[in-house]
Symmetry: C2
Subunit: 143 residues, 2 copies
DNA sequence: TTGCAAATAAGAATGATTATCATTTGTGAC
DNA sequence: GTCACAAATGATAATCATTCTTATTTGCAA
C-alpha cells in the first residue's frame, strides 16, 4: 500500500512518529480517528508519541494529501486515509458509527447551485446525522 | 414579526438580555452571527450583556427553535434566525460572505442515501466552500 | 561517523465555550 | 402596586481541543 519511504515522496522525513501514525490509519479497524484517539491507540500499543506531535503530524498529512480532515458535530476534527475517491458521510448520533456514500446527483446539483450564483467551488462538506438502527448500536455516543 | 412577549410562548422569561439578542438578529444586516459578534454589536450599541449570557441565550434560542446553529469552518458556531424553511449554505472562503440555497433534489437524494443504508435521518449539514467572485469581495477572511 | 537542519516532547498558551456562584431581576401571589 | 423567590445575569474560573515555545533528539546527507 505504502512503500516504507512513501513519506519522502510527499516531502516529509520518514520519522518514527510519522510512520507510527500512518501505520495506525492503515491498520485500524476504525477508519475515522480523532487526534485524541490516535494518541490513545498509540499509547496502548506501547508507542508513546506526544500529543502535540500527533496534531502536527495529522495536519502535515492532511496538507500532503495523505489524510482528509472532517468536522463532525462534537467540536473535534476526525481524520481518515485519503484514498482518492471523494465521498460524504452519514454519522450515527447514538453510537458514532460512520458510513460513507457517494451520490453523483448530489455532487452535480451542488456544482450547479454554486455556479448559478457566480461562485467557484473549492470544497464542500455534507454530513448526515442519523440513527443507524443497527441491533448492535450501543445507543451511546462514543467519546 | 415577533410579539413583544414572543419569548414567553417558547417558555423563556422575557428578560432584557434575551430581548436585545433577539432584536439584534431581527435588525442586523448580517444574517449569520457568532457569539463574539453578537457580544461586540451589543457593546457598540451601548447594551452591554455579559459574554457568558450571550452564549447561554444563543443556546437557549437554538433549543427553543428561534435560532439555528451552524458550524462553518473556522471553529466557531454561527447563528441565524430560524424562519422555517430549511436551506444549505455557500460560504465564500475569501470574504466570509454567506449565501443560502435550497435544492429539492439534493434533499431527496440524501433521504434516499440514508434510508437505503437503514439509517433514520435526524439532521444534515451541507456547506459549500467557494470563492464568491464578487467585485466587492475584499479577498480577506473576516475575523 | 559527524553535523546540522528538521522533528519531537513537555508543557505553556490560546481561543471558543461552559461552569460556578454571588448578585440582580422578572413575575405570580397577595 | 408590593413582595418573595425562583430564574437569569455577570464576572470570572474552568474546560476542551488545538497550537505555540523551546530545549532536546534524530534522520540523513556529506
Amino acid at each position: 500500500m505504502h512503500q516504507p519511504d512513501h513519506l519522502k515522496t510527499v516531502g516529509l522525513k520518514s520519522t518514527l512518529p510519522r510512520l507510527k501514525v500512518l501505520s495506525l490509519f492503515e491498520a485500524s479497524k476504525q477508519r475515522h480517528l480523532s487526534a485524541e484517539e490516535v494518541y490513545k491507540l498509540l499509547l496502548t500499543s506501547g508507542d508513546d508519541v506526544g500529543l502535540a506531535t500527533i496534531y502536527r503530524v495529522l495536519t502535515q498529512f492532511e496538507q500532503a494529501g495523505l489524510l482528509m480532515r472532517h468536522h463532525f458535530e462534537g467540536g473535534k476534527s476526525v481524520f481518515e486515509l485519503n484514498q482518492g475517491e471523494h465521498h460524504d458521510h452519514i454519522v450515527c448520533m447514538q453510537c458514532g458509527h460512520v458510513e460513507e456514500f457517494y451520490d453523483a446527483t448530489i455532487e452535480a446539483r451542488q456544482k450547479i447551485a454554486a455556479t448559478d450564483r457566480g461562485f467557484t467551488i473549492h470544497d464542500h462538506s455534507l454530513y448526515i446525522y442519523a440513527d443507524c438502527n443497527k441491533p448492535k448500536c450501543p445507543n451511546k455516543i462514543q467519546s
